[in-house]
Symmetry: C2
């Protein structure tokens, strides 16, 4: 499994950490335009000072960089720079750079090691951990990809200070998710320190990042290839979220925003099936009500759309098996499970309707 390091400033320790993990000091550094601007100088200077040989690649900071076209260009750059299988790749950025970098590393020379250096809250707590990497196809998101575990995940929470508030909240959805699915004690910590975490105050934010990353890593380690249903619990709220994202054509809604609303639906669904009590439902909804989303965004994209349309959009998502949706539900706060049977459309639509009334 990947070692996860939470440390500030982490770039001062690159040489030490690479050597410890038998990684060569020849590295391809992948930035997006924002992370290049914000962290490029520090990281490249650190690599120079620590005696690395490196090649620098920069892609636009947008979802469309997760494309064949970009991958194709990057492969060409690597071949021209004489990068061979003795190199590794350091991906500095959010989900786009992590996914694209992982895709390239997984496939170049049949796989070179990847080190993730996530710069967003979402990437630090979710996308950089667990080895799922992918690019998009015009007909579907993340359809082309692999499992390629990072050798090392380097997290520097101080990088979050430059993150726009909207991105902090989007990442916070996954943090809260870990509390819901796996750890009641952590959920209490989040309830208590929510404002400090989203204000990027230490020690709260470092603790929240460390705990989230560690819960994700534990779950992935126990069920790497998604066979037992345990890894599937990481998708709490996501079945609904993918439906919302698809309706918005993935453009006007952040993944975390969709997940937050998806978790409201999933809480209601858990209550409908009497897996959680009314008190647990209220307590969960109270945490999710702390999310400040851009006014109109969630409401417009959600309240005006019939529940049936939302369900239809969920059905067109790739995670269906044989057209059946699988739901991750709670059987208590801090404990998720993958519901074994398909659910009637009616009960799902009722849960969506309830959610529409409450947020």
């Amino acid at each position: 499994m990947s070692e996860i390091i939470v440390s500030t400033p982490v770039h001062n320790r690159l040489e030490q950490l690479f050597l410890k993990h038998n990684l060569s000091k020849k590295t391809v550094v992948l930035f997006d335009e924002n992370t290049k601007e914000l962290f490029g100088r520090d990281i490249l200077t650190a690599l120079k000072n620590q005696g690395f040989t490196f090649v620098e690649l920069v892609v636009p900071a947008r979802e469309t960089s997760k494309s064949f076209r970009t991958a194709y260009r990057l492969y060409g750059n690597l071949i021209e720079a004489d990068v061979d299988r003795s190199w590794n790749l350091l991906a500095v950025g959010g989900g786009v750079v992590g996914d694209l970098g992982g895709y390239i590393a997984a496939s170049y020379y049949r796989g070179i090691p990847i080190v993730q250096l996530p710069t967003t809250l979402l990437a630090m707590t979710d996308s950089s951990i667990g080895g799922k990497v992918a690019i998009n196809h015009p007909l579907g998101k993340n359809l082309i990809g692999f499992f390629h575990m990072p050798e090392l995940v380097l997290i520097d929470p101080s990088y979050l200070k430059s993150l726009p508030e909207r991105e902090v909240y989007a990442g916070m959805a996954e943090v809260v998710k870990y509390g819901f699915i796996a750890d009641m004690e952590f959920l209490r910590y989040i309830e208590k320190h929510f404002d400090d975490i989203v204000a990027i105050k230490d020690p709260y934010v470092s603790e929240a990042v460390r705990k989230s990353a560690s819960i994700k890593a534990d779950i992935v380690e126990q069920d790497f290839k998604e066979q037992s249903g345990l890894r599937a619990t990481l998708n709490f709220g996501h079945t609904f979220a993918h439906g919302f994202e698809k309706l918005a054509d993935y453009r006007h809604i952040r993944h975390g925003e969709a997940v937050a609303v998806g978790m409201i639906c999933a809480l209601h669904l858990s209550r409908k099936l009497e897996k959680i009590s009314q008190d647990e439902l209220q307590r969960g909804l109270a945490i999710l009500s702390k999310f400040k989303f851009r006014r109109g965004l969630v409401q417009k994209r959600f309240k005006d759309i019939p529940a049936e349309t939302i369900l239809e959009s969920m059905l067109s998502d790739k995670k269906k098996v044989d057209k059946q949706l699988r739901y991750v539900l709670l059987e208590g706060l801090g404990k998720a499970y993958l519901h074994p049977e398909p659910l009637d459309d009616g009960i799902v639509i009722e849960a969506i309707e309830k959610a529409k009334k409450c947020c």
Copy 2:
């Protein structure tokens, strides 16, 4: 590890074999235009009669099908046909279809199972086994790919009856290679039955295919990710061969033809370093002299090119690490090893010169 089945006619056993391996009866069948023409009707009828749901894909029968463009088109076809992760892929063809099919299967939905049904001698004995899959980049062959082990390799030696003689000899190079690198007894069998094997006579050809596939599978199982140097011995003759192929721009020479000439060079190099005796050298060369290559092809592409140019072409191949070529040599017939130190250019050039004089 993959189970390898050698059986005639193998398509009658698809349902039984898929079920035994927990493979679903929803399969994407990938042909090239030739294998579609030759075997399409039998295989598709068998799938129908055995209750499979299938989607059929056909690509041109040429190396350029191992491209991003083709992969991109195929992903689109699969998405449009609602193929999801509950499906698998059956690749019916030679190295191109096996590699392309493996690449698609490895990357679609982060990996669906692949079953290889090789139709050439080269694919039956080499490329379909061991999980190395790749596509080409304009700047280099097989640079983009993965390790994706087939669940099942289905070999029907009767398919070889339609194979052009040139392809039989090209595949025979790998068969002979297995004798050289791993099994003196098998080398004796090849010496004795060479003509029957290339004439696709049973039991000789089935035995040669079964033994070759099993030697390859054993080596791959012991060193899947090429860490110990054992899997590298499969590249006996290949360091030279890649140089020849690159000089010919991969177009006018079959891989197996290049490997046969490469093995002549490697035998001479083994002799130069006194790892094999003069008798062993002669015995090895005698086997390789049985290869009927199109007159002028090897001679022209080889004899007129200075040894230094050949070496330079070898150096530009991707399998170098830090610009050092690694040589697989024999320390006796039936026993190969990866030479641990780099070799002087001078001695390599001498071996190439010797080889030029003898073939």
